[in-house]
Amino acid sequence: MSAVGNSVPRKDGIGKATGAARYADDIVLPGMLHGRTIRSTIPRGRVRSITLDFDTTGFTIVDYHDVPDRNVVDLIAQDQPFLVEKEIRHMAEPILLLAHEDKETLNAARVTIEYDEDTPLFDPEQSTQFFKTITIAKGDAAAALSRADIIVEGTYRTGHQEHIYIEPNGVIAELEEGGVTIHGSVQCPFYVIKAVRCLLGPSRPVRVIQTETGGGFGGKEEYPSMLAGHAAMLALKSGRPVKMIYDRTEDMVATTKRHPSIVTHRTGLTRDGRLVAMDVEVLMDGGAYVTLSPVVLSRGCIHAAGPYRCDNISIRGRVVFTNTPPNGAFRGFGAPQTEFAVEVHMDRIAETLGMDPVSLRRINALRPGDTTATGQTLRADSSAHQVLEEAVRRTDFTRKRTEYLGSNRAIGLALFYHGAGFTGAGEKNLKSTARLVLTPTGVRIAVGSTEIGQGTRTMHAQIVTDALGIPYEDVEVAQPDTARVADSGPTVASRTCMVVGKILEECALEMRDTLGGLAPKEYYARHGSITVERMYQPPDWIQWNDDTYEGDAYATYGWGCDVAELEVDPDTFEVRPVKLTAVQEFGRPIHPALARGQIEGGTVQGLGYALLERVVMKHGAMANAQLTNYTIPTTLDTPEIDVVMLSNPYPGGPFGAKGLGELPMDGPAPAVVNALRHLKFDVREIPATPELLAAAPTLA
């Protein structure tokens, strides 16, 4: 039996179910101190004075003067300090670090900070400071709009979304061999290395070991670099290990969130429903520092025209500065925002034309051979029509769409796609490597890709098992430890299976050649260990121009069609989802049960985004930073999820697999809002809370 394609036992073992799995907060090192962050309580201004209102005996205290080398979190830009020097740009910005061996004493310490306050900027529409602008131009949208039979316009808004990994951010720093070792809940150990090296300078070695990680969803992509730097500074100054674990409120107030967006569409059509011009303006609120905003905007803009064919497209995007905590990576990375807008807009177009939503999409959905907004010619592994037809058939959509009229039940759909891997030349520039090591008992996978719940260990082991032709049990997976594994790139962008899995497949094939028919154990006994390391080679046909945003934005795309069925309480405006159907094509599943778990989990996260998850910002800080009043779906908020996995292998992926992790996030919000439109609520914003529905105009 092959491992790939079967739901083999997971490499995680039983530890997660027995409590034996070790997360950051479960680790206690001898002599360890606890660390705490003192943060700004104003959104904009300058620090005038800091007064320590506590007995400092036994405390380690760090401010920006203690920064060993450079006070910047090294990411795309180098604008964000680890610790405020003078200028404050957002609420909860770190100013001072304290450590003490007793948590209670630590938490009781009071610090008074006086400020010179400036007027903060909160409204992204008023911001004139752009972190990044992007223009995508295909054909001549302005000319085509002037010739269109019909023009439909609309503006769509999405709010912040908080990741709510159930394990908050946490790391431990300890001194080791003249440098610092970080143990932590991280998605991207090598991002942490880069940032902490910049902070500590070239003379101090930095090592990062990923602990078991209680969820990420993008929230542990870039933020842990900040936290690791803080713990490292406290460890260096105290000479002792330092643990820093955020509580839930600190995690919600201080760490990144999904970028809020405002997207405006102006679309020209022929009378029979053919898209002839799409003009799209994308605005994202980046918050106070650049973090990953340029790349989030990029992915958002590339997906902004939706999975539709149109010869004349103009997309103009900007991500701007505001005095709010920086927004960052979150599953989907800009695409859920822009695909929400285009999919709700498509249903409004259908209304305007007097057409049903399925027919409009049948006319316009991309097919192999069509070109996307960036001019990419789609290949055979494109499935917009297949997922649409399967979703319509399986849900009996057309019949229900008529039958539900006049009742308090409704049905809506959304068609979507998601580019897998880094954008454009990103994978080429990243130069990811993977390593396979022959051991006395088999082989060991040594990559920096992290298991954060999605099944990395298992899926990689399956690929190596089949490519090498050895028993699954003989493949082990190393814990990501930057001293011992290859830098396979960050665990983000739906790339861990498709890209890192592909390198591992190639490593395994090369090793298979070397083994020359011997089993790994036999070869090891005769010749000793061997190591195979290879670098990722993207498909040679990829052409991308980062200046003009033209070309092959992604090597391939996953495709999905979600159908939401729901009811609305006519008195309270509460929405009760009845069923969500998620039809998705992502090449092929390596591990069907894990893949299904990604779709179910992503779909429910999307459902929360659609209906429940509202971040209330007051004076630049999240006011509802608790799970009591920032609510994510519970069992009782979650309807039946019907998952359909269609197959359409991608030749460049391991065993035909594409990326999957983010795709399920794109569809639920527009499907839900389109179902609300079916109930005559003119909603153009999420989350669609009861308050929003009560105030929404009613459609004719």
Binding site: S7, P9, R10, D12, G13, I14, G15, K16, A17, T18, G19, A20, A21, R22, Y23, D25, D26, H163, I164, Y165, I166, E167, P168, E212, T213, G214, G215, G216, F217, D247, R248, I452, G453, Q454, G455, A593, L594, R596, G597, E600, G601, G602, T603, V604, Q605, Q626, L627, T628, I632, P633, T634, T635, L636, T638, E640, I641
Partner: protein, 146 residues
């Protein structure tokens, strides 16, 4: 203070108002009980006190004096529900899993799916969308009925 922890009479020295969660994790060294929110909303820190699921982050240790406390460690490693949570992928990142399993243990003999959902409503999971958790629990001893 004394309570029965996983079947063993246990004395603890902590201040009576210390959170049960902290006593379990720090004084007793049982780190299988996880902290997710610290305010009794997420259920990651669920333990059974006299058979009832409670959030150990909002229970002062004095309240369990004389009681029987069961944590995930008390199940050993061979409970069928533990194995089913892994094989059915009811655990992804695993941080909610100990609490989820302990809550599920309080279900009646042959629960319906609706009963499972109601029982688990106080345990948040961000990874699975719950479906795989239902599959694990229903396979363990569910009726198969909605």
């Amino acid at each position: 203070m004394n309570f029965v922890l996983n079947g063993v009479s246990t004395d603890v020295a902590a201040h009576p108002m210390t959170r049960l969660l902290d006593v379990l994790r720090e004084e007793c060294g049982l780190t299988g009980t996880k902290e997710g929110c610290g305010e009794g909303e997420c259920g990651a820190c669920t333990v059974l006190v006299n058979g009832e699921p409670v959030c150990s982050c909002i229970v002062p240790v004095v309240q369990v004096t004389g009681a029987e406390v069961l944590t995930i460690e008390g199940l050993g490693g061979t409970h069928p529900l533990q194995e089913l949570f892994m094989s059915e992928v009811g655990a992804q990142c695993g941080i909610c899993t100990p609490g989820m399993i302990l809550t599920a243990l309080t279900l009646s003999e042959a629960p319906t799916l609706d009963e499972v959902k109601t029982a688990l409503a106080g345990n948040l999971c961000r990874c699975t969308g719950y479906s795989a958790i239902y599959r694990a629990v229903m396979k363990w001893r569910g009726t198969g009925h909605a």
